[in-house]
């Protein structure tokens, strides 16, 4: 029986939501389906780009968070 896979299946595969059995079948399908392989490679490329697209908050914001935590006890004892 020939199992056909959709682009949705490839997305689940790239995001590691497929079973071991599905992985083997999808890997086999990618070898034989150029269009699907192209879609897969595009996805991998995009995923790498998304991984690199994280941005950093300012150090002032991080310092404010840490200061809030450090002063938590004294603030709550005062207001109690």
């Amino acid at each position: 029986m020939i199992q056909t896979f959709t682009q949705n299946d490839v997305i689940r595969y790239v995001y590691e939501e497929t079973s071991e059995e599905e992985n083997l079948l999808i890997q086999d399908a990618l070898v034989h389906d150029t269009e699907m392989l192209e879609f897969y490679l595009d996805l991998v490329d995009l995923k790498i780009g998304l991984d690199a697209s994280y941005r950093e908050p300012s150090s002032r914001t991080v310092d404010n968070i840490l200061a809030y935590s450090r002063n938590f006890d004294s603030k709550h004892q005062t207001s109690a």
Binding site: Y15, Y54, V62, I65, Y68, R70, D73
Partner: protein, 200 residues
């Protein structure tokens, strides 16, 4: 930089039980960019995202220190849920009172207050990852929501479907269009570029 990787549940436990500030700082530094980017891609404003990041961790501190934390050691998904809810609430409020937002993600009011930061932002705008974030912001809301939840918040497609009240196939379809649209926008210099974005 962390020399020895201590897992999240151990750090949370040290913070709750011993008030270990170093443990909390490690958690904040480990996840600040992930939480911040998640918020930023929803609210699309750097300054609002900074405020909401602070609010998110302040809420986390309140819950952790008051002994109400019960998430079986899964710190990141818990913090991301707080961040997501705050960002969505803000996004909905802003949609009722639309603001003018520039390409770099800052609002017109912020730029008036912090003109120097805006110039600095413009200087780094051409970097690839900035460009990609700009493209994500242009996606239709439903597609951007699924992309952010799956890629930045690490939710499974089933969890996204449950959270947004759609079927898993609809969630996957939205993700597929989001990724296809991103790819199309990235290749806009191609002669065959189609400027239309796919809707669902």
């Amino acid at each position: 930089m962390e020399r020895i990787h201590v897992n999240d549940s151990e750090l949370v436990s040290r913070y709750i039980q011993n008030g270990d500030e170093h443990a909390f700082e490690t958690l904040v530094r480990r996840y600040k960019s992930k939480v911040y980017t998640t918020i930023y891609l929803i609210v699309k404003d750097t300054y609002v995202a900074e405020d909401l990041l602070q609010d998110t961790f302040v809420k986390a501190v309140d819950v952790l220190r008051s002994g109400k934390y019960n998430d079986e050691g899964k710190f990141l998904p818990w913090v991301l849920r707080i961040a997501h809810n705050m960002a969505i609430d803000n996004f909905r409020r802003e949609k009722r009172y639309p603001n003018i937002v520039f390409e770099d993600g800052s609002s017109v009011f912020n730029t008036l207050d912090f003109a120097e930061d805006s110039i600095e932002e413009m200087q780094i705008k051409n970097e690839t990852h900035n460009h990609l974030r700009d493209l994500i912001k242009r996606l239709p809301d439903s597609q951007r929501e699924v992309l952010v939840m799956r890629h930045y918040e690490d939710m499974s497609f089933q969890e996204i479907a449950d959270a947004t009240g759609v079927s898993i196939n609809t969630a996957l379809g939205r993700m597929r269009y989001a990724l296809i649209n991103l790819r199309k926008m990235m290749s806009k210099n191609s002669p065959s570029y189609d400027t239309n974005l796919y809707a669902e």
